[in-house]
Symmetry: C2
Subunit: 638 residues, 2 copies
């Protein structure tokens, strides 16, 4: 099965079982918008609950919950109004839009399929594919021209690439006068609250704040189904740190576990990711979260962003990428946002977003002291005095030292006052400039920020792919392939099903009673009382990724069947809830349960047929021949 | 303490402890947008988790998760583009906007404070306050003119009231050509998915779907703090039912519990809510949810909407209203949306959103059968034949019976064909019209919808007010009033605190170990290792509504103190996690714990002083006098 076939199978199962479907389907859908149906919603809330427990609770983070609607001023400060853009080209005849970088990439990928390509050309196209994120609008435009790339389908000529802002715009209030946007990330809500968060943490660093929320990005031409969408759930963490010590508070717990790492300098299109020790607690915790979910660790790597690939706020960025049928997908970005956002909001809002560090003992610091002599300046410059004083006080160290040197050498200096639009002559009697040693008891600084940002929808999609497999099943004389999602119990949409084996009132009553007790204990479950064969009912529930099936047959015991091994154990009815509780909250594994309770032979359709034959023969030849007969029959059957 | 003072105290505690604050505060805030800080976010996610468990899990609902961005066509069909409006008046000089109904209500409320008002006037203003929601734009406008109401603060004249659409508008995609809105409710996402949900439920009614999500309403002039905001979390349920049987599946479990009920005909401004049996499982379940949260049941009532007060889609509506310092607030709306939405989306999308009911035995139904005779019509009308056939087939029962009667009487009839723009003469040979008895095996119909819609933010705010109280504390010789939130453990932002009694490494290590075990068990907790007195530390945590405080003193036991009773028990360290688990997931009450573990005397600052004095005296006079001494001292102290 190739990648496309595999993806089609997964998508088919996901849509048919209502994990997710295109939004507003009855109206023809809207590109880039998807709904989660009931099992998908359950998986999503389980993933978010696990995320909260794994990060927020475990690391004692401060979680906040801020609105999506964001006034323009906030996103001006953060740089999103100016810089949160993608390059777009327009089909010059139909007026439809395309992402310039995607067209270029598609073109090269198509070319690379050509076996007769020269080695140089292969190298060139590979290089472009690896580096296109790194191209300026002009470079992209000239590559598109050079390769003669035209619009897909229509084959019309394309415009030059130009930036398109990806934010959804709206206006706040009845006047239409307050411009606003739907937040493209949840992080800004945390940054603007820094002051209160810092206070709430006892005015101490380091600490982390977190937020789960919707993010909105008006993609030019969404593709890749659930992976590139226009509205999605982000779970973001902002670690606020000392700029000179960005280590994670739990750094000491970092083992030298090895991961697939793909640093910037290796990404020239030829080399591959390499195994390296992690050396970073953030990455490690994230790795543990993803593998606990059920992401295949061999298909998880950390890739460093190329210089020009990084968001405008990032000083460095590593992605956790998960391999799926679409290739390696960025699912978690770990950006070093340095002091970018806090500084930007401090400046724009006038509220200092800073931290204080009290020194254990005062430190001696050399400080520049500029003291304008107001009386002299007033006599010489009258009404201009105030602006000159301000200009003198605003000198940086270099300029002040030059003025000082000039005054000491010549006694006066020509001094440019921008606010006056002219230069004035300053004499040495008019200002004193010196460097003094001062004792300081604390320092005031802007904290650095490390941000792990989780694209929940992408993680869930990759998780769906990694969990999916098919297995053969004999139905009559046909062999059909049944779909299974091997979701771990903690994120499975339903923890178990409850089946009465036969359509009889006694079994149904016991099943109902078990289902009610499970619900009361907070364990989601499905009752299937249809007359379908037990094999069909197992198959239905396997395709939903339900890990355990409880079948009511001969009370006071029931069988519990595990989805992937198809193994069964026999458990007393009164112990079912406790067993399911232990299995779903991770207190006990299936192996623990198997070793504790008697196993029950698994009965598939084929097995059942065999069993019936066996029984009939047993009746004829008597019990003592049954083993021999079984041997004959198995041989015959195979 | 009057209502305003009380509200101020609550809001002060909420902002100071960072439960919630105005969003984008460093930029001066945006009216109608609030952030939840860390404890507020915890309360909110606990409330949502409880909601999921109480409704979705317990009643086996199908939860979905749809985007906020909604294309215009969906909201045109639902009626929101035309009808989701409030009446607005404009300050004719400054151009600021106000809600017309609010200005009228405020004016009347102000007038009603006047003790010298005649009985007739009192009646009139009370009537207006009770009925203003029921006024048309013209009625509102003429009342505003009649009373000479002007703009608040500026006292400028006001424009006539006119409708303002409350949805936030945006556009989807790079062309700006797909208009969209931020959904004003989550319900539409459920309605457009009806077909898949119905299929997913085995094509059976009744069933319920649910969704938790953000809703957006561009309020004209948001007031009442957290109660009227522009973005908020809704938790909505849509029960899809047989139109002739709207009873809840769990109707049988409804007891004749009595609630405050306020039916439409009682709301003339004079009468009050009355105690009535509930008789509705939806209301009962909702009541149980709200009281389980901690809402005071004496301050909860169900009020029926007045005719014109209802949303455009509602056939009937009852609100669960909670009384807070702002008056009775709508927190949950239970609307009978009948078949409104499903019909509207069926028509607009062309996808039938219907249910099928198979009859246990076929039913005989009288059916109109119209059979145009194409040959005759073709001969007579040539090219017009097709349109005439369509027009004949489209006749409703009344029209068809008239045509039939005329044909039987006269042999021909003048028949108007709109699509031709003229009448034609139809002879009895050209069409046969009859009523036939047909056997039908099923019926196809549009299900009815009952919607309980929960305003989570409003519920949380009322819950904050109902949970808040102050109690006196002796600090030195002063008595101060300390704030307490009496949150039940299940929704409290943190389940417990862990304090080492003294600043010593041994106690701190035990405290850390307890905190880590609690975290591992998923129990949120706060460590407070500051040197503040134990009384101060209790006070801090009481104000956050933390129900239990674990104080490490003389290991191997610790004390656990309950917030409201201030009573303490002594528990072995190794049992702490289990006790906390039982207390927070509702397996055991505090009373159970008190009866199981030895009590520990509560030590307040005053008590401690007393105890020290007592100890000193005991040393002097010997143990046997201590009881007498205590008596003397208590007298002296009081």
């Amino acid at each position: 099965m190739n990648k496309e076939e595999f993806r089609k199978k997964v998508m088919n199962a996901l849509e048919r079982r209502f994990f997710c479907i295109p939004s507003f389907k009855i109206y023809g859908g809207v590109a880039g918008l998807y709904d989660y149906g009931p099992p998908g919603t359950n998986v999503k809330s389980n993933v978010l609950a696990l995320w909260r427990r794994h990060f927020v609770l475990e690391e004692n983070m401060m979680e906040v919950d801020c609105p999506c609607i964001t006034p323009e001023v906030v996103l001006q400060a953060s740089g999103h109004v100016d810089k949160f853009t993608d390059l777009m080209v327009k089909d010059e005849k139909t007026g439809t839009y395309h992402r310039a970088d995607h067209l270029l990439k598609d073109f090269c990928m198509e070319k690379l399929k050509d076996q007769s390509l020269s080695v140089e050309k292969v190298q060139e196209f590979k290089h472009v594919v690896a580096m296109f994120d790194d191209f300026s609008p002009e470079q992209l435009g000239s590559k598109i021209k050079e390769y003669g790339i035209v619009a897909p389908i229509t084959k019309n000529p394309l415009s030059d690439p130009y930036p398109f802002n990806l934010m959804f715009q709206t206006s706040i209030g009845p006047s239409g006068m307050i411009p606003g946007y739907m937040g493209p990330e949840t992080a800004q809500g945390i940054f603007v609250n820094f002051k209160d968060l810092y206070y709430c943490n006892g005015s101490k660093l380091p600490f982390a704040a977190a937020q789960i929320g919707q993010a909105f990005r008006n993609e030019i031409s969404p593709r890749q189904g659930l992976l590139r969408v226009r509205e999605f759930t982000l779970a973001e963490i902002e670690h606020f740190l000392y700029p000179e010590d960005k280590s994670h508070p739990k750094f000491r717990k970092v083992a030298d576990l090895e991961f697939l790492m793909f640093p910037r300098e290796e990404q020239n299109g030829v080399k591959d990711a390499i195994k390296l020790p992690l050396g970073d607690a953030n990455k490690r915790n994230l790795y543990l979260f993803l593998t606990r979910l059920g992401i295949n660790k061999e298909r998880l790597r950390f890739r460093q962003h190329l210089e020009n690939e990084m968001a405008h706020y990032a000083a460095d960025c590593w992605n956790a990428e998960i391999e799926c049928s679409h290739g390696w997908m960025e699912c978690v970005g770990i950006a070093d946002r340095s002091a970018y956002d806090l500084r930007a909001h401090s400046e724009k809002s006038g509220t200092p977003l800073v931290a204080h560090e009290k020194f254990s003992e005062p430190k001696e610091v050399e400080k520049l002291v500029i003291t304008p002599v107001r009386k002299e300046l007033g006599l010489a410059f009258k009404g201009d005095q105030k602006k000159i004083v301000e200009a003198l006080e605003a000198m940086d160290e270099k300029e002040a030292m030059e003025v000082k040197a000039a005054l000491e050498l010549k006694g006066d200096v020509e001094f440019q006052v921008c606010t006056l639009g002219k230069a004035v002559t300053i004499k040495s009697s008019m200002v004193s400039i010196s460097k003094e040693i001062k004792k300081e008891h604390q320092r005031v600084f802007t904290p650095s920020v490390i941000e792990p940002s989780f694209g929940i929808g992408r993680i869930i999609y990759c998780f769906f792919e990694h969990s999916f497999y098919t297995r053969p099943s004999k139905a009559g004389n046909e062999v059909e392939q049944l779909n299974v999602f091997r979701f771990p119990p903690i994120v499975a949409p339903f923890k178990c099903t409850v089946f009465p084996l036969e359509q009889n009132p006694g079994q149904k009553a016991v099943a109902e009673q078990i289902s009610e007790s499970l619900t009361a204990a907070g364990i989601s479950n499905i009752m299937d009382t249809t007359g379908a064969s037990i094999g069909k009912r197992y198959a239905r529930t396997d395709e939903l990724g339900v890990p355990f099936a409880i079948t009511v047959d001969t009370a006071p015991t029931v069988t519990i069947r595990e989805r992937d091994s198809k193994k069964q154990v026999r458990v007393e009815v009164r112990k079912v809830v406790r067993v399911m509780q232990d299995l779903t909250n991770g207190v006990r594994t299936w192996e623990d349960i198997q070793s504790k309770y008697p196993s029950h032979p698994s009965i598939s359709t084929a097995d059942k047929f065999l069993e019936q034959k066996q029984r009939r023969f047993t009746t004829i030849f008597g019990v003592y021949t049954s083993i021999i007969i079984m041997g004959i029959f198995v041989t015959y059957w195979i």
